[in-house]
Symmetry: C2
Subunit: 406 residues, 2 copies
Amino acid sequence: MTGREFFTARTVSEVLSGFRPARRTAVETVPLAEALHRVPAAATLSPAPLPGFAKSTVDGFAVRAADTYGASEGLPSYLDLVGAVRMGRAPDVTVPAGGCVAMPTGGVLPAGADAVVMVEYTAETMPGTVEVTRPVAPGAGLVRADEDVAAGGELVPGGRPLRAPDLGLLAAAGVVEVAVHARPRVVVLSTGDEVVPPSTPELRAGQVRDATASALAGLVRDAGGEPVLAGIVPDDAGALGTALKEALRDADLVVVSAGSSVGARDETAGAVAALGEIWCHGIALKPGKPTLLAHCGGVPLIGLPGNPLSALVVFRLVGVPLVWRLAGCERPPPEPSTRARLSRDLPSMTGRVDIVQVTVADGVATPVFGPSALLSVLTRADGCLVVPEAATGLDAGAEADVMLYR
Amino acid sequence: MTGREFFTARTVSEVLSGFRPARRTAVETVPLAEALHRVPAAATLSPAPLPGFAKSTVDGFAVRAADTYGASEGLPSYLDLVGAVRMGRAPDVTVPAGGCVAMPTGGVLPAGADAVVMVEYTAETMPGTVEVTRPVAPGAGLVRADEDVAAGGELVPGGRPLRAPDLGLLAAAGVVEVAVHARPRVVVLSTGDEVVPPSTPELRAGQVRDATASALAGLVRDAGGEPVLAGIVPDDAGALGTALKEALRDADLVVVSAGSSVGARDETAGAVAALGEIWCHGIALKPGKPTLLAHCGGVPLIGLPGNPLSALVVFRLVGVPLVWRLAGCERPPPEPSTRARLSRDLPSMTGRVDIVQVTVADGVATPVFGPSALLSVLTRADGCLVVPEAATGLDAGAEADVMLYR
């Protein structure tokens, strides 16, 4: 029944570089207001140059730069004020040699002008004449018509989740819909005879409410995915096989929150092996060793350890990048982190990644120890510290990167 | 009309410590599946101890620890196997002196036992007898009935946005609804004769599409708020006053994306002064100086600079913590950041915070310079670097914290 002996265990780096399904979600068009953190399927190009017209960046006067050369407080240039530009309107004047036009910030540069002098360096001592007390170079005080983006230039790249400022640039270019990858559907299947729904008011001895599924749903959302909680299946090979088949039908990723006993884990492995190819069974990771990764007819599957804490550590490390990748994003957005000094030695084994939950205060990271059966370890921690594969441990006082939870 | 001279300019630290409206959003109850990153109004206490029963954390045998003292590979303890615990069920046996009961991980510890021996340190060479080859201490291989959380103990604190693992612990405790602060309604009012909606297909000379509102909406969502884009008001004192009154009626925060010219800014200040108390007009911040902060009958108001880049810098620095605070969260969740070496000198002025957009590659931060009229500076940057008030600048090669965009 088990066949566990035949499956390979892998290191974390082997998993991250090697378990890379080709599947990508379909592309759909969404309005800008719903596009935040979605992953564009391709680069969006600007239909026209931006801002689209040479534009003043200061309040002042549009001039021919040459007319200001040599100007100083002691010996100003005197220019004829021939008109004013109004916001949002095309100029109805041109700037002749020896002339100038009043400009608001953001106004259209009139023909004839090649610079804008800030109002601070001018004075209007006589009506109709402007004194300029500083010279300006051509191009000063303005942006060119295509200085933000050229026609056909890239507004936002494909494959990178859209950030708030990206939405601004798209809006500026009149792009009000974006073609993005659909949110990956992550079907979470909980298993275990002891597991009951969170809404169960009273527990019988030995029963536990399904904690992992709700927490996984949060991690899936943070990774831009759509969690689908498919319910709880008893530790029964037939029921598990049926539920898995059902889950795989409409999923981009299936996550099995496995039973915690060896028997339950073997049952999961057996049911998965019948539906696809097991890629690894066991990761050199603590906590999180009894993790199963498989390809089931094009759909990746993660079998998580039974302990909620271990399950969440594994999903953060292995599942989150996978969800982004399914949506066409190869480099997930950065996570909050900080450098902190260790409050104590952290022993570890070479060849294994150790994940240690820590609190962080005043630049010091203090491990929150506790059995991985405890969820409160995770809710008390400010983040986690990764002891890398190559290390035999970290010394007290050593600086380390802590991934902070948000 | 202007009265700008009467208003105080403030430093960034004065703004962050001093502009702290007392307003908080109402409390509403949401299901767990919608509670991610919402801010609980108070601590949630556990109605019962968790896990609720003494529970095995290993596959093995429940024993009386004393029966294993002195056991070794050479001289095992021999214990009578008196039964087995099934997952999710109350044990139907007790462990007598000299006896043991087979246990799955997660099973209920039977009466009489005080420890669980891992199956790895046992052998069943004769049916009905278990050899134990290592001693265990009382409490080994199990968690106590209240080891995760005691009855009445805190599951999650109030005031801290809920993280994915928090949802797991709440589910484990049977808490399927949480009382959280409503998402702050942030009404964004765009102003300017030159500003037209993003959906405008063709621009006339001098017109610009409203970029700031869409980008602000993204920042508001990232801060847990609900953006309400109230449209575009022309540079007209009457129209602005009417629109502001309307915006204030149903907002927790009003953001005016102001016109970019001095005249437009003065008009905003005048309209705001008529409706409330201006707290400051001008922040020692670059870009972002012409920022206005006001209290309007209990509703805070931010008047942003006209340039989209400046507006977004100010909103990130001042607006984002305010949105969190309105939802009852005093310490916003951590943002992604990294340490990087500067590619070049960054001059700055003491007493002013400078925000420099940078790209980051191989640990080196390279400034992305460009007029603040350009939005593409923000979309090209990986993050921004804060040159603090006290500094006169940063030297090339110096290490600095970069706030990364996500």
